[in-house]
Symmetry: C2
Subunit: 351 residues, 2 copies
């Protein structure tokens, strides 16, 4: 399991070390002020159970995505939506495009599905013709877009081609867009623009808005029968009242959204170009807020340890399917922190 920032607690607890957490891909602009204000104003709403239908919350999400409320399902983080999807589908076999986030496999297996992997090309690009030829009896294809940990984003035309081909065969496409809002001009590139009933899009509301602690994810699909099935099997009140407040507030926070878009646009290029200047690494181009880095003269496990001593926690990416021991993943944060991480990388590499 990808422990994200979980590791910082263990480090602090067991070793008393406070580090700059570059293993977790969270917006460095931090908790939106609009969210704080809304919580303070609505503390008393927490003394009621949440609306079991989450009507207002789903309305806010539908408006943000320019779709209908009946196509939205919310969950306790994207994690719950993913697990519900895997339980609700009628499928024996799931095909996951990898390397990618490990929870798809865990969710599919915990729902009793068999899992197979389709490997990305050596440069982590996706050859959709090879993919479509590869598929046999798998009923669902899972793609993370932009992909964690590679940072690559598949164009809408390619996603549409895959969705079309799968639709003809009665198969489904699950697209995790947890990081899509960090992609430049994402509104014109999201699969939510497609009108395929076999598509299910997963979103994590709280990455872009720096609120992973609040736990709010959602899914978008035109497949109403699937949503009905999810409704049947889900546990009641799984989305908490603070997440309700967050969703109803922060999607309207245009200032925060604009500032985030400006930050990521600039820093993604700057950090990538600075990393390119380092000798002992190969850097994958990214379209989102993290970067996959291949170490040419060290292995991820030992490098991670050295980086902790230099005050930075990086993600050892060697346990992603199809990645070897040379890969680490770095978050992208603000200029000040990115500079500190560059300094630490140089220090460790030159030691």
């Amino acid at each position: 399991m990808d422990l994200h920032g979980g590791n910082i607690y263990k480090l602090k607890r067991e070793k008393g070390i406070e580090v700059l957490d570059y293993s977790s891909n969270i917006n460095p602009l931090g908790v939106p002020e609009s969210f704080k204000d809304a919580v303070i104003k609505n503390f008393d709403s927490l003394e009621r159970y949440p609306d079991i239908d989450y009507t207002e919350l789903r309305q806010a999400i539908a408006k943000y995505n320019d779709c209908s409320i009946e196509n939205i399902v919310v969950g306790n983080g994207a994690t719950e939506v993913l697990f519900l999807y895997m339980k609700a589908i009628a499928a024996k076999k799931v095909l996951i495009i990898a390397p990618t986030f490990a929870e798809y496999e865990r969710a599919a297996k915990s729902a009793g599905r068999d899992v197979k992997f389709f490997p990305l090309s050596k440069d982590f690009s996706l050859n959709e013709n090879l993919l479509l030829d590869f598929i046999t009896d798998e009923e669902v294809v899972v793609i993370c877009n932009p992909n964690n940990p590679t940072g690559k984003f598949q164009k809408l035309e390619k996603i549409e081609k895959i969705a079309n081909a799968l639709e003809k065969k009665g198969k489904k496409l699950f697209i995790d867009e947890a990081f899509v809002e960090f992609v430049d001009g994402w509104e014109e590139k999201t699969a939510a623009l497609l009108k395929h009933k076999n598509i299910f899009i997963l979103r994590a509301l709280t990455k872009f808005f720096a609120l992973p602690g609040v736990r709010l994810g959602y899914g978008i699909t035109l497949d109403l029968e699937l949503l009905e099935k999810i409704k049947e099997i889900r546990e009641p009140w799984s989305v908490n009242g603070v997440a309700e407040i967050a969703g109803k507030t922060m999607l309207l926070d245009k200032k925060y959204i604009r500032e985030t878009e400006e930050w990521i646009k600039e820093e993604k290029i700057w950090f990538y170009q600075e990393l390119l200047k380092l000798d002992k690494v190969e850097v994958s181009p990214t379209e989102t807020n993290f970067i996959l880095v291949k170490l040419l003269e060290d292995n991820a496990k030992s490098f991670r340890k050295k980086m902790i001593e230099a005050g930075v926690l990086v993600r050892d990416a060697s346990n992603f399917m199809f990645l070897d021991e040379s890969y680490i993943r770095l978050a992208i944060k603000d200029r000040d922190k990115n500079q500190k991480v560059l300094d630490a990388l140089k220090k460790v590499m030159e030691a």
Copy 2:
């Protein structure tokens, strides 16, 4: 499914009616100030994922219950802990003592268990000898204590006798103590004092502290293998960061706890005695913060409608197993509100 306060949203949405919610059993003292202060101070903690092990939260809960951290499991509301328990146990059949909260059945069935019910006596007392004779191949017995919706509380000696008998046969006892802290002197009466490995105690942290919107429940058990199994199957980060803050703060709020204990001790007796004065009802004695009422000249469905028109939402209790159409359940709140509900009851009954 028991919709609790969920109905108030539907009433407001569909009919524009705002009512006094007596269907939901929440502490009327409201959201603790200590919780509000802690959230405001710790907003920034929400920009990190929660600690995946919830170490500090579990420590706080263990301290509150005078037990070891290794015996505590936390969940996204008591609901998640209940569903995890039902998934984790190795059992084909579950026996539920009824009438009681409907989610036990739903959780057991969703985990593929068969469910059987043991009926309480006519006055809702529990004859433990009859219960023990009744059990055949059921591996788990579920008891809600104090019981929702009857308000009756089983003494520790009786619980111990049942736990002993079940232990000898290799069977388990699941005790929902969601409302136990409303029982006078509960610290000396909780099953957490027993040292039986076959007992699992469910608690809802956010009923006593008026924070159902925050979603925080927990379980206590000495069965470490069961806890290990739960750890394996659970979804990561299901407890949100605000629930973490709540748990770490409010269990230390001695003032709030004392004020709540003083309120419920007084109001439980007063409201019960006032209800006894009404002609057209039979009232069950309660040891917790709600009261089961039998209507002698009306049915619950029609009475509930009339009460909504009088500004009060009561719980139609007729869909609890073994209860007929004459039962409603009332919350106990503060004197002012309880008086308003008494007035409304009289108005409706005399109309």
